[in-house]
Structures are given as C-alpha cells and as structure tokens.
C-alpha cells in the first residue's frame, strides 16, 4: 500500500470531501496563504478558491461561532484552531452553542461541523502550546471527539467527521503530522465510535490513542521479549467510547493498562477505569493501571518537559507490574 504522511492524509480527506460536497468549506488562521502550520491545508485554495478556504483574523471566538452559524444555515464547515490550546478562547461557542443548540431547540437543526485542533507536546512549546485537552469534551453531551494516531485513521476519521451531521472535535497530535504510514486508496472512511485493535494478545490489554498509541505498541514489543503478549487497543474515538472493544479484550486478558499524554487526573483513562469498575469489574484479575502526565502544566525546559511525557518503558513497566 502507498505510504503518505499524516498531514497529507488529512489533506486528501479535505480535498475529497470538498470535491464530493460543495457545502464543505474550511476557515482558520494562516491556512490559505501558508497552508497551515503543518502543511495540512497546502494547495486547497488553489483547488477550491479562497471563497471556500478562508484565512480568518485571529478571532477564535468568531471562527468557532461562525462555524456553528454557517452549519445552522446549511453549510458543512471545517474550522481550524491553529493549536488545541486556543479552544479555550471559544469555550462558549463550543460548549454552550455547538454542543447544545440541536438538543435545546428540540432537534430542529443539525450542526455538521468539524473543529480541528492540533494538540500535544512538541519541542518545548511550553505550557500554552502543548496541551492535550481532549478529556474536557467527554464531559459535554452533544459533542463527538475523535483522535487518530496514524495516517490511515487520520484520513478515514476526518472524512467521517465531515460527513457527520453532529459536531465533531478532531484532535491531531502535532508530532504526528510528518509521520508516514500506509493509507488505503479509494473512499476510505473510518466509522466514528469504533476502536481498533492494533496488536492482538492475551495477557494484558493496553488502551491508548493519538501519539501515545505508538508508545503502546513499542511497549508491547518490549513485553513480548519478556513473554507477555499485550493486546493493544487504539481508541481512535473517545466520545462515544467503544467500551465493547475494551470489554471484549478484557474478557481475554483480565488486565488493563490505559495510557495517554494528557494529565492523568480527570483524563480519558479515569472514565475508562470507572466504566470497567461499574460494568466489568468481574473481568479484572488485577488493579487497573492508569498512565498520564503528572498534575502540572507542561514546563518549557527540556529537562522538565521529559518528565511529563509517558514513555514506552513506563507503559511496559506498568503492564509488567499487573502481570506479576
């Protein structure tokens, strides 16, 4: 299969969906003239014109809010947040408007909007440019949240998100943009709400997503060297959570490790651990191991930044500890 980068994969999704449906358009900062910070919008204005690929002012409130308005009026906007950290600027538009309008107004409308948000730690970008905020949005009914880890899912989930009639937050890890991987040709769509099993095994289940999914696979390699076969689940969507895939795996392994880059406290791992405790406690033979960043903003200095990152060794160590 051909290999393309994560960034190119999202660009293919955008191109195909904009060709397929002329209601799809995209707006954000520095996307037409620059092509996006990560090249993820390169060439779109040449193909579709600056009437459908809009460079906005630095006005996240207007970008997200006008996205909602355009969706209400029949378009299918993709809005870009530049960095996921800046969703904080338009929390009203996301939480009170985007997520609630359809329900509040008794289902009179749909909000087919995608909000793209590059997140995660890269190269000492420091506290205001490194966050992983995805878990906040699990707590907001009305939103869907996807978070791919590789080019194929990046493409397939973005296409699904654009076709969805509900608002979808699309988190894309900054460190993944240059990553290459196989992407199927044709109309490759990955369903929202479905996790994937990226490695099969029967001794322990490692649940992860986004860039951390790669650390999980590395951890599984390390564990295999010690005779432990880990099953690795890449969630791909975190709202709605695919608990069936997790429970099915646990029925086999009886051990669960959850790893994400986001702060551990109140993270996606907490929700999964709670679900397992409520609905599948009998499946567990050992306590759940949760890995996430320590409870601290991401520090600038490389010597401190590395302390908040979860490594493959951390994951393998946690798995070993519950497999004893």
């Amino acid at each position: 299969m051909r290999k393309i980068t994560f960034s190119e994969a999202t660009l293919e999704a955008m191109t195909e969906e904009m060709q397929r449906d002329d209601r799809v358009f995209v707006m954000g900062e520095d996307i037409a003239r620059q092509g996006g910070i990560f090249g993820q919008f390169k060439g779109l204005p040449q193909k579709f014109g600056t009437g459908r690929v809009l460079d906005t002012p630095i006005s996240e409130t207007a970008i997200a809010g006008a996205g909602v308005g355009a969706a209400l009026a029949g378009l299918r906007p993709v809005v870009d947040m530049h960095f996921a950290d800046f969703i904080t600027v338009c929390m009203d538009e996301v939480v009170n408007q985007m997520a609630k309008i359809r329900y509040m107004f008794g289902g009179q409308c749909t909000i087919p909007l995608v909000l793209r948000a590059p997140d995660g730690i890269i190269r000492s970008a420091a506290a205001q440019h490194s966050q992983s905020l995805e878990s906040w949005f699990l707590h907001v009914p009305g939103l869907k949240v996807v978070i791919p880890s590789n080019p194929a899912d990046a493409k397939g989930l973005l296409k699904a998100a654009i076709r969805s009639d509900d608002p979808v937050l699309y988190f894309e890890h900054k460190a993944l943009f240059p990553m290459k991987g196989p992407v199927p040709g044709g109309d490759h769509v990955v369903p929202i709400g479905k996790a994937s099993i990226s490695r099969a095994g029967q001794d322990v289940t490692i649940v992860s997503y986004s860039a951390m999914a790669h650390r999980a696979l590395e951890a599984a390699d390390k564990l295999a060297g010690q005779g432990i076969e880990a099953e690795v689940i890449d969630l791909r969507t975190i709202s709605p959570l695919d608990k069936e895939t997790i429970f099915t795996s646990l029925a086999k392994t009886h051990r669960l490790v959850i790893a994400h880059e986001a702060v551990k406290t109140g993270g996606v791992g907490a929700e999964i651990a709670a679900l397992v405790a409520e609905e599948a406690l009998d499946l567990l033979d050992a306590p759940v191991a949760r890995l996430g960043a320590p409870y601290v903003p991401v520090p600038f200095s490389p010597s401190l930044e590395k302390l908040v990152k979860i490594t493959a060794d951390d994951i393998a160590g946690a798995a070993l500890a519950i497999c004893k």
């Binding site: 630095i58 420091a126 506290a127 320590p294 200095s301 010597s303 401190l304």
Partner: protein
Amino acid sequence: MNYDAEFLRYLYRRMVSIRLFEEKVGELFLAGELPGFVHLYIGEEAIAVGVCASLTDRDYITSTHRGHGHCLAKGAQILPMMAEIYGKKAGYCKGKGGSMHIADFTVGMLGANGVVGGGYNLAVGAALAAKMRQTGQVAVCFFGDGASNRGTFHEGINMAAAWKLPVIFVNENNQWASTTPCHTTTAIENIADRAAGYGIPGVIVDGNDAFAVYETARQAVERARQGGGPTLIEAKTYRIKGHFVGDPEMYRTKAEVQKHFDENDPLKNFAKKVTAAKWLKQADLDAIQAAVAAEVAQAVEEARRAPYPEDGELFDDLYAEGGLK
C-alpha cells in the same frame, strides 16, 4: 525638544540591548542551541523603549509572544532572560517559561504571553488595582495588529474606558500577523480609529521613531495618572524578521523587507537624529554598542554553562501553598 545626554544614552542602550540580544538569540536558535520557538522583536525596538521610557519601575506592562523587547525595555536583565530562553534554572522563570513566557515582576513586567490577545485584561486588572488603591501607577498593554482582532480587545478597552482606568493600549502595527497581512483581516486602515468607539483618544505614531513614541506615550501616561483614563496608541512599524526564527517567509519578498529596514531601522533613525543634532557623538553610540555586545556575549557564556532545573523541581511553584506531587 531637548533631551539630556544621559536620557539619550539610556534610550540607545535599551534599544541596542534589544537588537543585539535578538540577533544573538536568532543565531543561537538557528544553530540548534535553543529549545522551543522564538519570535524576534528586531525593527520594533523604538516602540517598547519609547513607551517604557515614560514609565517607572512601579508601573506595569503586559507583553506578547514577541516579548523579549518589552522585557528589556522595562528593565529586565540580559542574563536571566538568556538563561530562561536556554531553559536553565537561572532563568527568570526557573526554566519553566521559555522565550514566550518571560516575566520580571520586580520591574513591573507582568509577563509575555503565548496566547495572542491574552494580555489586555491583565493590564486592565492591574490598572484597576492601581485605581482602587490610588497608587498612581499605570499599566501598559502591548499587542499586535493581529491581536487587535481578538474579542478580548473589545472587552478590555471598553471596561477600561467606562471605568477610566489608568491603562494605555499600545498597538504595535507591524503589518503582519504570522503569514497574514493586516489589511486582509482588518477593514479599517488604522487600529487607532477604533478608539472613537470607546470614547477614548486614539493616536497614531511613527513606531520607528523612539522620540515620537516617547512623547506620545508620555502624554498618555500623564493623562492616565491624572485620572483621564485610557489611550489607544497605534505605533506603525514593520516586522523585519520572520514570524518566528526559521520562518521560510514565502508570503513576502526579501526586497520588501530590505526596503523597510533600509528606510525605517529605528536604531539608525535614532543615531542619525542624535548625531545630527550633536546631542551625542558617534563615539558615544559605539561605546554603548560595544558594552552591550560584551554583556550579551557574557550572558550567552553563563547561560550555556548554567545547569538545567532538576527533576525535583517539576512541581515547584504550582501552588503558592504547596500541593500535590
């Protein structure tokens, strides 16, 4: 207008400090010595220095992602700034902030900001505190043309105007917001014209002329100190360097940039004016330049050698009262 020689030397020293500091930081970054990313203030020195020359150490400023110049103009020291940019423990923020998050509260520098438009309301709040406590302090908010389109601009200026707070909003209109020319995202020609909508004075000044900036800021500061409320100053300038160091700058020509620099370099403007008026000799300027160059070189040496923060410092300063580990 006449200026005493000491004041002129002070102005030049601060501007040269910024220029040489930024040139060195750019060089070090390209050499791969610095983590993170850096935005340089080269070509805009007259604004920060002209404005801060009208303030005292007790007055406040809030800054931006392009904040090194504001820091140095307000009186921050070169060594702890350099150490911070290296991510070293000797830095102003103990290595936790980096280039985009330098602050020196001892000189009223309330911090650079990674969030565009994050500074307005911090300045408004500092001015509110000054007014409530009747301290006579003022606060200055520096912000870019791009930042003028954040909603916080409106909320901050309106509240400050309604309450006649001692705050001065200083727009650094360098005509670019990253890759986006100001005129494509802003329908009015002058950001200062927006002042009318808030019932406050809006003043346009040549941001490449330290004297013009200083005189304009002085009047705004005086007005604020006397209870007259805010002023919106728009300092027209041009962003000489890329948005960040390493920016390929595909969106403009080298010739355009060079033309602006040749015609409007604030340091050259200053030198020309003070030597022509015989206020200072070229030798005075050269001596300042040499002293600053030595200080910057020394700071690089020390910052390079300085230790990184230790693992045990990760949780320090999260809460004033200590906290979770």
